[in-house]
């Protein structure tokens, strides 16, 4: 049998840079192929080249024959009959690929209008059937909704429904779950796996997440630096990787990292304590006052926690759970509406007059490594800034201290004159950590510091944080939506949902015997390398 899609010697160049270098693979009908790689490895470009979605500046060579016809040579008119009808694609960010002014039902109906002879009522029925297929409940109602009324997961489902509208032979999925929360991600992956079985769908699934790919696909391509480094059945690649890079990728997966044994933390007084924290956005309007409501939006409803010296507290929760807001209140970026923060037994006011002394002890590291540094400041200037500004060391010692901090976070000294735009994400994160360490703080708060990084970088940054903690006896508060990371790093954990603490306790206990259904759902959603093995 000839393969449904056969890609041969595909090479894509943008000017002098080679984005995809000589990639070949075959895809049988009914198979699911995963393409894994880190950002910039060329996995998305490969996918888009097949659909001919690349900008005109891309020079493409090689061939991609779909049922014997080369997609790369096909005239535009013929290609448009294939796109959408025979090959459909879903993208990473559902909100930017849905028209905000068009009802969900109409968006799904679009391809039906274009590629089928269905009319009027038949289209409507088909749309509702499709929404049922992707398990959007109450499809009649949601078909009338606009994209902004849907959650991220629902949007992704609606996009899948649109892609399935003409019963395509091939579905290209480009990081379809990356922008979603863990539990939603799992449900979308389950849906894709199920659709494969039910509709005998052929699929290419592009992702940086090996665990996600393992859940859906049978075969795997691993890409690095625009090249294919390894290919084979998923189980074989995971159990017996042949290429060094695949091995490294697997070793970086949270599943493969050794859980840490935590030294028992003394029963001393807590170093950081939050009591009854409530945080409100927006203010109380006159109408709220009349109606007797609190007004505004309560991002954090009631949170208490305590962290002891040398301990690492994990805060987990999905987006909108209030975990980042909570972190920001600890460093004075938002003022709690009620409640108090205690540092070293003393009441602390992170936004008040004594804040400089307080902030020297408590530093926050931000999520987006490249955005946390001013684009117009060199590495040297960024790290030296707190040293100079707060006179943390004598003026003539600044230079030496910067070099010392850079070596502590394993930054190449040659990078000192670079601007953030000339650094990689991992390097930027190291600069941000070095800058926080300049204060010699006792507490480090890490707000989703790994979520914008590739897996291998993630593992490196986590190792760095662990080492620093050990060396300096740092107390850490680690905020993440990634439970696998939390499990590795934290001695105790609190689980947040909608501004409240759902569950709290020592990490091992919470993970092994979760008391709450929500915690269990979060733990189940961790993508593992092997389908069911925990």
């Amino acid at each position: 049998m000839t393969p449904l899609l056969s890609v041969k010697d595909l090479t894509v160049r943008f000017g002098a840079t080679v984005a995809v270098d000589d990639v070949s693979f075959d895809l049988e009908r009914g198979a699911a192929l995963g393409i894994v790689g880190e950002s910039g490895s060329g996995k998305s470009v490969t996918c888009r080249a097949v659909m001919r979605l690349l900008p005109p500046s891309a020079q493409i060579s090689g061939s991609a024959s779909f049922e014997g016809r080369d997609l790369l040579q096909m005239p535009e008119t013929e290609l448009n009959r294939v796109r959408g009808k025979r090959i459909a694609m879903i993208f990473q960010n559902p909100s930017s690929h849905l028209d905000p002014l068009m009802r969900i039902g109409d968006q799904v109906a679009q391809t039906l209008h274009k590629h089928t002879d269905l009319k009027g009522r038949a289209i409507r029925d088909e749309v509702l059937r499709l929404l049922d297929v992707v398990r959007i409940p109450d499809s009649e109602r949601w078909a009338q909704a606009f994209p902004h009324q849907l959650s991220g997961g629902m949007k992704q489902r609606a996009m899948i429904a649109g892609a399935l509208a003409c019963q395509p032979d091939l579905l290209l999925a480009d990081e379809p779950t990356t922008a979603l929360d863990a539990t939603v991600q799992k449900s979308v992956l389950d849906l894709l796996a199920q659709l494969r079985r039910e509709q005998n769908l052929t699929m290419i699934f592009v992702s940086h997440d090996l665990g996600a790919v393992a859940r859906v696909c049978d075969d795997l391509l691993v890409m690095r630096w625009s090249r294919l480094v390894e290919s084979g059945p998923v189980s074989r690649v995971i159990d017996a990787p042949r290429h060094d890079y695949t091995r490294k990728l697997l070793a970086s997966h949270p599943d493969r990292l050794k859980p840490r044994a935590f030294a028992p933390v003394g029963q001393g007084a807590p170093l950081v304590e939050a009591r009854g924290i409530q945080i409100r956005y927006g203010s109380r309007m006159l109408s709220d006052w009349i109606a007797g409501r609190e007004g505004g939006f309560m991002a954090v409803k009631q949170v208490d926690f305590a962290v002891r010296q040398g301990e690492t507290l994990g805060i987990v929760g999905e987006s909108g759970s209030g975990k980042s807001t909570l972190a920001r209140s600890l460093v004075g970026l938002v003022k709690p509406y009620r409640g108090a923060i205690f540092f070293d037994g003393q009441p602390a006011d992170p936004a008040g007059p004594g804040r400089i002394a307080y902030l020297r002890e408590m530093q926050l590291i931000y999520q987006h490594p490249s955005e946390a540094l001013s684009p117009r400041m060199t590495v040297q200037a960024a790290i030296a800034e707190p040293l100079r500004r707060h006179r943390l060391c004598p003026r003539d010692a600044v230079q030496g201290r910067v070099a010392e901090l850079m070596s502590q976070v394993d930054l190449d000294p040659d990078l000192i004159t670079r601007f953030p735009g000339q650094l990689s994400g991992g390097q930027c994160q190291r600069v941000a950590i070095a800058r926080a360490l300049a204060f010699d703080p006792r507490v480090l708060i890490a707000d989703e510091v790994t979520s914008a990084l590739d897996v291998t970088l993630q593992a490196q940054v986590i190792d760095l944080l662990l080492r620093l903690q050990k060396e300096r006896g740092l107390t850490m508060i680690f905020i993440s939506h990634d439970l696998a990371v939390i499990r590795r790093l934290c001695s105790s954990v609190i689980v947040m949902r909608e501004g409240r603490i759902v569950e709290a306790g020592p990490t091992a206990k919470v993970f092994d015997t979760p008391a709450e259904a929500y915690t269990r759902a979060l733990i189940d959603a961790i993508p593992h390398l092997k389908g069911d093995v925990a």
Partner: protein, 267 residues
């Protein structure tokens, strides 16, 4: 960063004008103020390249000397509005609250009136002269900079590096100066270039209306006004200063557009 051809052309034009202004006495063939009744209304020729006006002054020399005035007006006229506008805009955008409300209402009061009408009426009240033109510009021209700077500050105050600076315990003034200002400068510089063009053109327009530089100064607007009665018989008196104005305006406009394009690509 790749230089855009627009930018290079613009810079070349502006540099050319600056050189002309600097070495004007060397380039001029005649004294720009020397009246010569033996040679009135001469068409362009070997002796007078751009012809002469109704009292026999050499148009070419006057255009060359006019560059000095044009650049002086253009470059000096934008300084005060830029400084005022940038300060107000950045402070309003960064702090928000009542400062923002007050500043933006001031802007709202100014915006509905056509810019030139407002400048003209202020100059009319204060009396003719470049100094009063500068005062009028400072009173009215800051509005554009303020809106632009405010928009930048609104975005930047939520940027993680600004938050990081706050959590490092830096003062607001310091953050504004070291983090917000440098990162909002690019769009302000682009606007500055278009503003220079505008200020030169309006300066000339004031001269034309007799409310700017007063005759017999070699100012392009004044020259156009002097030539308008002879426009059918001696077109060159008004034509060459007009052409000079276009060329200097295009120069600054190209720099502005080119910069905008280059900075956009860089992001």
């Amino acid at each position: 960063m790749k230089l855009s051809p627009m930018f290079v052309t613009g810079v070349a034009l502006v540099v050319l004008w600056c050189v002309i202004a600097l070495v004007a006495p060397k380039l001029a063939t005649h004294d720009p103020y020397a009246i010569d009744f033996a040679a009135i209304l001469q068409p362009p020729g070997a002796e007078h390249w751009f012809g002469t006006d109704n009292v026999g002054r050499d148009t070419y020399s006057r255009v060359i000397f006019g560059a000095r005035l044009a650049l002086y007006i253009g470059l000096l006229g934008v300084i005060a509005p830029m400084l005022i506008g940038m300060t107000v805009g950045l402070v309003a955008g960064y702090f928000g609250g009542w400062i923002d409300v007050v500043a933006m209402r001031l802007v709202d009061i100014t915006v509905p009136f056509p810019f030139f009408v407002l400048v003209l009426s202020i100059v009319a009240v204060l009396g003719p002269g470049i100094e009063n033109y500068f005062i009028a510009l400072a009173l009215v021209g800051w509005v554009g900079y303020a809106r632009l700077a405010r928009a930048e500050a609104l975005v930047l105050r939520r940027a993680e590096f600004v938050l990081a600076a706050r959590t490092m315990g830096f003062s607001s003034g310091y953050i504004l100066l070291r983090h917000v200002l440098p990162n909002s400068l690019s769009s302000i510089v682009v606007y500055l270039m278009t503003d220079v063009t505008l200020v030169i053109l309006f300066g000339a327009a004031l001269g034309f209306l007799g409310m700017g530089v007063s005759p017999p100064a070699a100012e392009w607007g004044v020259m156009i006004a002097e030539g308008q009665t002879y426009i059918s018989s001696a077109w060159w008196i008004s034509f060459f200063p007009g052409l000079a104005m276009v060329l200097i305006g295009v120069g600054f406009a190209l720099i502005g557009d080119g910069l905008a394009r280059m900075l956009r690509i860089e992001r």
